[in-house]
């Protein structure tokens, strides 16, 4: 199994641990990862300003993966959602696709839709499967409660992303539980983390984040688990900013990336998984084995 790994703009600059842990997990599960240096921004941040430019950005990445004959696996859910949106839009009509291909042709690229777009969770769940992962688990968590956060852009709009059941998704919970952890029921689980508004309307953005953290804590969670770059920045970096600015820190709930959670149970050490890069300390999680 071979994929082109799409990191996006935020991971190399701000969330190194997501890249580190993903590579480590892929290696443990014998999946080949190819890096395409020419990858550009997925296009998601541009949607507010100009739809075509966001489609063009997405298309170039997919065309690059296609050129290498590879499917693309995204780590960020916003990125994943953007690629699926572009894929969906291009299937619809030719005018838009033609216009974009004219631009891509100048660089020797063409988008035909051959490259499949996946999120890392779908690869783990569908392509590798729970049983295969279970086999590689060397230590299981005991008595740990995880608030699993699905995020928005992988789940919705469901006709575009086809990731999981949008109303009652389960694949992420099952992936969490394969490590022995318990994925708890919590009311806000499908709510937005607030990331898309951070930098635009910080109060609103951080209100949404805090609501989720408080609800997760109240539901008994030890950790919040996410699998998206933006969600993780929100629950980790921004949560730290919320605490630093004097908000009630008693509800503070450390967030862990799924690849870090899984990686530990696969026997990979904390340093390789970049546990130290998380703002809110998650080192104590190893005590749950």
């Amino acid at each position: 199994m071979k994929f082109a790994l799409f990191l996006g703009c935020n991971i190399p600059a701000r969330v190194k641990q997501y890249e580190m842990s993903s590579r480590a997990v892929f290696e443990k599960l014998n999946i080949d990862i190819v890096d395409i240096d020419e990858f550009n921004c997925c296009g998601y941040p541009l949607r507010n300003m100009n739809y075509t430019s966001s489609l063009l950005s997405a298309a170039r990445n997919m065309a690059l993966a296609e050129k290498e004959g590879l499917d693309l696996v995204a780590l960020c859910m916003c990125g994943f959602g953007m690629f699926k949106e572009a894929e969906h839009r291009f299937k619809e009509g030719t005018a838009l696709k033609e216009g974009i291909n004219t631009i891509l042709a100048k660089e020797g690229l063409e988008y035909t839709g051959k490259a499949e777009i996946k999120h890392i969770l779908s690869v783990l769940y569908h392509d590798i499967g729970l049983d295969a992962i279970k086999e590689k688990v060397v230590r299981e968590y005991k008595d740990i409660k995880i608030a699993t956060h699905y995020g928005c852009h992988a789940l919705r709009p469901s006709d575009v992303v086809a990731f999981d059941d949008p109303v009652n998704p389960g694949l992420f919970d099952k992936l969490v539980e394969v490590t022995g952890a318990k994925s708890i029921c919590w009311q806000s689980r499908l709510d937005c983390c607030g990331a898309p508004l951070f930098g635009i309307n910080d109060e609103l953005s951080m209100d949404l984040t805090r609501k989720k953290i408080i609800n997760a804590r109240q539901s008994g969670a030890d950790y919040l688990c996410d699998s998206c770059t933006y969600c993780h920045m929100q629950f980790d970096t921004v949560q730290q900013m919320i605490i630093d600015s004097g908000h009630d820190g008693s509800h503070a709930l450390p967030a862990i990336l799924y690849t870090q959670l899984l990686g530990l149970s696969l026997g990979i050490d904390g340093e390789t998984l970049g546990l130290g890069y998380n703002r809110l300390d998650i080192s104590k999680i190893e005590g749950f084995f």
Partner: protein, 581 residues
């Protein structure tokens, strides 16, 4: 005489230019609270001294070797460019030291030095050859390979042209001197004391045979005895300073190929002309250096070294500002940053050159120099500059070590103070700015956002006055069937159940959502149905939508609510940009 005068003139201009440029690093205002030039100068001095007399000297030495000498940053990215650059760089430096400064350096170290003896003669041609190969690679890269979005400007042309003129005139000069009979006779008179052509005939024969001189009167084939006699004279008066010219392989090849017209060229004094071209080109290059791309010889190493020991948190703000002024001059316009820019492709859509980092830095330099700039140009630069995801790739690959990420941030924050609105602030491109909010004052942080919102909702008065009664009969028919995509026109299927509003987390966040948002999601759908463009484009709901797609997912009629909002955002930006221009 003329040579000395022009050299000194060039040197003086060079020094004046140098002083002017270096002082500008202490005068250029980049940050909000700029300190005076003398404060900046002494703080910089302190910083430099404390870096050298500390353990950081090791970093400086390592970085000097790896990044200044070896050019590791380029090597990691692109072998062709690295080759082109080091060939030009190393070989030119060696030519400068060994050949241009031979009277100062080479003849001091090697007392028996002459330019026409080996190894110096061979090395001169070797180094010149390497520079020419490097130049060819550079020309190939810029003009034939044509990487997408690689921009070549006047300064790039000048740089290549000047080097080419210096190198080629040198080669041709060498060729001209090799074949020149007039120079030969002058030299024989001076060093062998022979003035009579008949008397010097054996020597001339040898020099025609073995040293490339072209004489109208003395031509081969020659008898061995004559050559033997010539060899004796040669050993006495010439051999100490002259190796066989075929070691000067470039000049010699050219001399050989033009030997047919060598006498004519000699009579025309071509070697004098070439000599003038050669040294004048060098002196012009020298005088103009501080204002040209060649200035990077000094500024880029400084930038590389400074950035290796400075960082945002620990370094003095004053020194960071000085460094950033220096960084503007350290850019070599190599285009490495642009080739790795994550939003480079978007240039093909927006055609705003300031999206591309290598062009952005030139424009921002203009902004920093406070050159009188009209609103249109200023906004054009700000628009392009804000289209950046802060991915850091440009910073990671810059071979001049420029901390572009910090430069972009500081310059943009400075530009926001102008009060001109920047709409791209209302997008996730601002996430990075949010993460950096603790580095700026709350007022400075909020102001551009408020301004952008104000400007984008400008002119949509209907929404601002709650008491106004909306006349349905006067609805905007055009908008109803306008460019909305197939997705957005699904608003027509809305039957008013208000589910979208009820699942919206933003609406749920407020006690009085209508007050904060202007219009709620279902109200936006109604407004579109009634063709009242004004209401929708002026609402805050557009910019406070968190794009979670709950509305769209839950709509029983399949109205693509989120898509509608996206399209309205795009429309609002387009309209506002038009009015803004």
């Amino acid at each position: 005489m003329f040579y000395s005068i022009s050299l000194y003139v060039a040197l003086v201009i060079f020094i004046i230019g140098l002083v002017y440029k270096v002082s500008s690093w202490f005068f250029l205002k980049i940050s909000v609270e700029s300190k005076g030039a003398s404060t900046r100068f002494f703080t910089a001095l302190k910083g430099i001294v404390s870096a050298i007399y500390s353990v950081r000297i090791l970093t400086l030495l390592k970085v000097f070797f790896l990044d200044v000498i070896i050019q590791r940053k380029i090597l990691q990215e692109d072998l062709l460019r690295w080759l082109a650059h080091v060939l030009i760089y190393w070989a030119f430096m060696l030519l400068l030291i060994m050949h241009a400064l031979d009277s100062l350096i080479t003849s001091t170290i090697f007392p028996n030095y002459t330019p026409t003896i080996n190894p110096f003669m061979f090395l001169r041609d070797l180094f010149g050859f390497l520079v020419i190969v490097g130049l060819c690679l550079a020309i190939y890269r810029r003009f034939i390979l044509k990487a997408p979005r690689l921009k070549t400007n006047v300064m790039d042309h000048y740089t290549i042209l000047l080097l080419a003129v210096i190198m080629l005139s040198g080669v041709f000069l060498e060729a001209a001197k090799t074949g020149s009979y007039s120079i030969y006779t002058d030299m024989v008179e001076e060093y062998a004391g022979i003035y009579d052509a008949e008397e010097m005939r054996p020597l001339t024969a040898l020099w025609v045979e073995n040293f490339g001189v072209v004489s109208a009167d003395v031509q081969g084939p020659f008898e061995d005895e004559l050559l033997e006699e010539g060899r004796e004279l040669h050993e006495m008066s010439c051999a100490a300073c002259h190796s066989r010219p075929h070691w000067a392989f470039m000049g010699n090849s050219v001399a050989y190929s033009v030997r047919g017209i060598a006498t004519a060229l000699d009579n025309a004094g071509i070697h004098t002309l070439l000599w003038y071209i050669h040294f004048l080109a060098c002196f012009i290059g020298l005088a103009y250096l501080p204002f040209s791309k060649f200035f990077h010889i000094f500024t880029s190493p400084l930038s590389i070294l400074a950035n290796s020991v400075m960082n945002r948190d620990d370094s003095e703000a004053v020194n960071i500002e000085t460094r950033q002024a220096l960084e503007f001059d350290a850019c070599t316009h190599c285009g490495q940053c642009t080739s790795r820019c994550s939003v480079g492709i978007v240039f093909e859509q927006f055609k705003n050159i300031n999206i591309l980092p290598s062009e952005k830095i030139q424009s921002l330099k203009k902004v920093a120099s406070k050159k009188d700039m009209d609103r249109e140009e200023f906004l054009h630069i700000l628009d392009g500059a804000y289209l950046c995801t802060n991915c850091r790739r440009c910073t990671d690959v810059c071979p001049a070590g420029i901390n572009l990420e910090d430069l972009w941030f500081n310059m943009k924050e400075g530009m926001f103070k102008s009060g001109y609105p920047e709409f791209s602030l209302l997008s996730p491109l601002s996430y990075y700015r949010g993460l950096m909010r603790d580095t700026i004052s709350e007022q400075d942080y909020k102001k551009p956002l408020t301004q952008a919102r104000k400007a984008i909702t400008e002119g949509y008065d209907l929404i601002k006055d709650d008491s106004k009664v909306i006349s349905i009969s006067a609805h905007d028919n055009e908008f109803k069937d306008e460019s909305l995509s197939s997705q957005a026109s699904t608003f027509k299927d809305c039957f008013g159940c208000q589910t979208c509003t009820n699942v919206c987390p933003v609406v749920a966040n407020y006690e009085n959502p209508k007050e904060k948002l202007g219009l709620l999601p279902h109200q936006i759908m109604y407004s579109l149905g009634l063709g009242i463009k004004e209401l929708t484009l002026g609402s805050n709901m557009l910019w406070d939508c968190v794009t979670c797609y709950q509305c769209q997912e839950s709509c029983p009629q399949g109205v693509k609510v989120t898509e509608v909002l996206f399209e309205l955002k795009n429309l609002a930006v387009d309209n506002a940009s038009e009015t803004n221009a």
